[in-house]
C-alpha cells in the first residue's frame, strides 16, 4: 500500500519534471536566439545578411567583418579605451565604495542617518536629473570633454555598491577588529589589511558588476567623449547603427567583440556575478 502510493508519488514527480522541461526548454531557446543570431550575423558577408534565405549556422567571414569594422570606425582603438577606462574605473570605484561601506558598517558618527538616507534616495532618483548639469559642468566648466577623467570620475558615485559593502563589512565579527585595535593598529591599516582581505569574495562580485557597468555604459560616454579617437567601443559601434553605407557584418562583429568576452567571464565567475546583482536588492 505504502509502496504503491510512493511509486504513484514518484511518477507524479516525473510528470511534473517533464512538464517543467517542456515549458522551459523552448523559452530558453527563444532567450538564446538573439545571441545566436549575433554570432551568425558576425560570421556572414553583408550580402549574406541581406539575402532571402534563412541562415542559422555560422559562416567564415568573421575576420573580414572585423576588417570592415576597423575601416568604418577605429574599433580596436575604441576597445583599448574601453578596457583602460573600465579597469581604472573598477579599481577606483571598488576602493571608494568599500571605504564608504566600511565607515557606515563599523563606526557611529554624527550624520550617519543622513548619509544612509542620501544613498538610499539616489537609488530611485532618475539619472536624467543629474545628466544635464553634469554635462555642462564637465564639458563647459571643467573643459574635460573627450578625456579619460570625464569618462571615469562622474560615474564613481554608486549607491548599490556602498550598500553591498556596508552589508558585507557589518556581517564580519567585530572582535577581530577590536583585537587589532588593542594591538594599536591604525584604523586605515585595519581596513586595508584586515577587513579588505576578508571581503575578497564580495569585492570580486562588486568588481565584476562595476566592470560590466563601465564596459556597457553608453549615454554618458556618447555625450562626453564623442570625438573620433576618444570614443569608447559601444559609442563607436553606435555611430554606425542606422548608417546605410556601412558593413552590418562589421557591426555584428563589433557586437560579438563586446559581448562574448563578458559571456565568458559570466560563465567562469557566475557565482560572483549573481551574488553581485542579487546583493543590490536583498538587504
Amino acid at each position: 500500500m505504502s509502496s504503491r502510493s510512493s511509486s504513484r508519488r514518484s511518477s507524479a514527480r516525473l510528470g511534473r519534471s517533464i512538464a517543467l522541461h517542456l515549458f522551459l526548454t523552448p523559452l530558453a531557446l527563444i532567450w538564446l536566439f538573439p545571441l545566436w543570431m549575433m554570432v551568425i550575423f558576425s560570421t556572414m558577408p553583408d550580402r549574406g545578411i541581406f539575402s532571402p534565405s534563412i541562415e542559422l549556422l555560422p559562416h567564415g567571414n568573421f575576420l573580414d567583418n572585423v576588417n570592415n569594422l576597423q575601416r568604418d570606425t577605429n574599433f580596436i582603438g575604441a576597445i583599448g579605451i574601453s578596457v583602460s577606462v573600465a579597469v581604472t574605473y573598477t579599481f577606483l570605484s571598488v576602493l571608494l565604495t568599500s571605504m564608504a561601506g566600511w565607515a557606515l558598517a563599523r563606526y557611529q558618527f554624527f550624520g550617519k542617518g543622513v548619509v544612509v538616507a542620501i544613498i538610499l534616495g539616489t537609488i530611485t532618483l532618475p539619472y536624467a536629473v543629474v545628466l544635464i548639469p553634469q554635462f555642462i559642468m564637465v564639458a563647459r566648466d571643467f573643459k574635460l570633454a573627450n578625456t579619460w577623467v570625464a569618462l571615469i570620475v562622474p560615474p564613481l558615485f554608486n549607491s548599490l555598491g556602498v550598500l553591498f559593502m556596508r552589508q558585507s563589512f557589518s556581517m564580519m565579527p567585530g572582535d577581530l577588529f577590536d583585537a587589532a585595535r588593542v594591538e594599536g593598529v591604525k584604523e586605515w591599516r585595519i581596513f586595508l589589511f584586515v577587513a579588505l582581505p576578508l571581503a575578497r569574495p564580495m569585492l570580486a562580485a562588486l568588481a565584476i558588476i562595476l566592470f560590466l557597468a563601465s564596459w556597457n555604459n553608453y549615454l554618458w560616454p556618447l555625450l562626453i567623449n564623442s570625438r573620433p579617437g576618444a570614443m569608447t567601443a559601444p559609442v563607436a559601434l553606435g555611430t554606425l547603427i542606422g548608417l546605410t553605407k556601412v558593413s552590418w557584418g562589421g557591426i555584428m562583429a563589433g557586437a560579438v567583440m563586446l559581448t562574448v568576452p563578458m559571456l565568458v567571464v559570466f560563465v567562469l565567475l557566475q557565482r560572483h556575478f549573481v551574488a553581485g546583482i542579487a546583493a543590490g536588492a536583498i538587504k
Binding site: T97, I132, L212, L237
Partner: protein
C-alpha cells in the same frame, strides 16, 4: 557606542566629495536651470519659460504617452516572466540547471548597443530572420519599423529580453532566502504546490517584487538607447519617442538645457510618486 566622527568621515570623504560635485550640485542645479531661458547669453531667469512650454508641448505629451504605454505593458509582463523564471529555476525537479540559468541570465551582460544592433537586423522588413520565419510558416511578414504599434512592440520585446533575467536573479535570491520549513509544513498539510505559490511564495516575495518593479519602472521611464538605435531616433514619426529620447534631443541636440531640465524634473516627479507608492505597498501591516 563611542562616536568616531573624524575617522568615519576620513573614509567617507572621497565618496562624499564625488557625490557633492557630480550629484548633489547637479540635482539642485538642474532644478534652477529648469527656470531659466538657456538659449540666450547670458542665461536669463524666466520661471514660466520652460514649464509653460512643457504644458503646451504636444511633443512632450507624445513622449510621455509613449513612455507610460511602454511602462504599463512592458514592466508587468517582464516582472511576471521573471517570477516564472525564478520559481522554475528554483525547482528541485530541474535538471541541467546551469544551462537554463545561462540562457536566461546571459542577456544581463549584453550591452544596449550590441543588442540594439541585433534586434534591428532580426526585425528588418525584407531580410530579418523574424519575417523570414513568419513567412516560412505561412504568416504574412510585418513591417516592424514603419508602423507605430509593431515598432513599440519591438522595443518592449527588446527591453523584456534584456532585463527579465536580471530581475529573475534578484527574485531567485529572494526565493532562496525563504525558509524551507514553511513549505514542508504546508506539504504535510496537503496544501497544493499552486496554493503554496499564491499563499506563501508571493506574499513573502512581495517586497522584492515591488523593489524590482520600482527599479524597472524608473529604468524604463528613462529609456533612451532602444528608441534611439533600434527604431531610428524614435521613429516612425515620433511614434516611439520616449521622455529619455526627448530629453536627449532637447538637451544635447538643440542645446536647450532649460527645457531638458524641466523634462528631467518631470521624470523625477514621476519617480518620487512611484517610490512613495513603493513605501505604501511594502509598509508593515498594522
Amino acid at each position: 557606542m563611542r562616536y568616531q566622527n573624524a575617522t568615519a568621515y576620513r573614509f567617507l570623504a572621497p565618496y562624499l566629495l564625488i557625490f557633492s560635485i557630480f550629484w548633489l550640485w547637479p540635482i539642485i542645479s538642474s532644478f534652477l536651470i529648469s527656470f531659466q531661458a538657456t538659449r540666450t547669453v547670458p542665461w536669463r531667469f524666466a520661471p514660466t519659460f520652460n514649464w509653460g512650454r512643457l504644458i503646451g508641448d504636444p511633443a512632450f505629451f507624445n513622449a510621455l504617452k509613449n513612455t507610460l504605454l511602454i511602462l504599463v505593458i512592458q514592466v508587468p509582463v517582464m516582472i511576471t516572466l521573471a517570477i516564472v523564471m525564478a520559481v522554475l529555476l528554483n525547482s528541485p525537479l530541474l535538471k541541467a540547471r546551469g544551462l537554463f540559468r545561462f540562457a536566461f541570465f546571459a542577456p544581463v551582460v549584453v550591452g544596449e548597443v550590441a543588442y540594439s544592433a541585433v534586434f534591428r537586423l532580426m526585425f528588418n522588413l525584407d531580410y530579418g530572420i523574424i519575417n523570414k520565419l513568419l513567412n516560412s510558416v505561412g504568416l504574412p511578414r510585418i513591417d516592424w519599423f514603419s508602423n507605430v504599434t509593431p515598432a513599440m512592440a519591438v522595443i518592449m520585446i527588446a527591453v523584456t529580453w534584456r532585463w527579465a533575467g536580471y530581475n529573475a536573479i534578484v527574485l531567485l535570491a529572494g526565493l532562496q532566502s525563504i525558509p524551507q520549513d514553511v513549505y514542508e509544513a504546508a506539504t504535510l498539510d496537503r496544501v497544493s504546490k499552486l496554493k503554496q505559490f499564491f499563499y506563501i511564495t508571493l506574499p513573502l516575495l512581495k517586497p522584492i517584487i515591488v523593489f524590482c518593479a520600482v527599479l524597472s519602472i524608473i529604468g524604463t521611464m528613462q529609456l533612451f538607447t532602444e528608441p534611439f538605435l533600434i527604431t531610428e531616433r524614435g521613429g516612425p514619426g515620433g511614434g516611439t519617442e520616449t521622455l529619455g529620447l526627448l530629453l536627449y534631443r532637447q538637451g544635447f541636440k538643440s542645446l536647450n538645457f532649460g527645457y531638458a531640465s524641466a523634462i528631467a524634473y518631470t521624470m523625477a516627479g514621476l519617480a518620487i510618486a512611484i517610490s512613495l507608492m513603493q513605501l505604501w505597498l511594502t509598509r508593515d501591516p498594522k
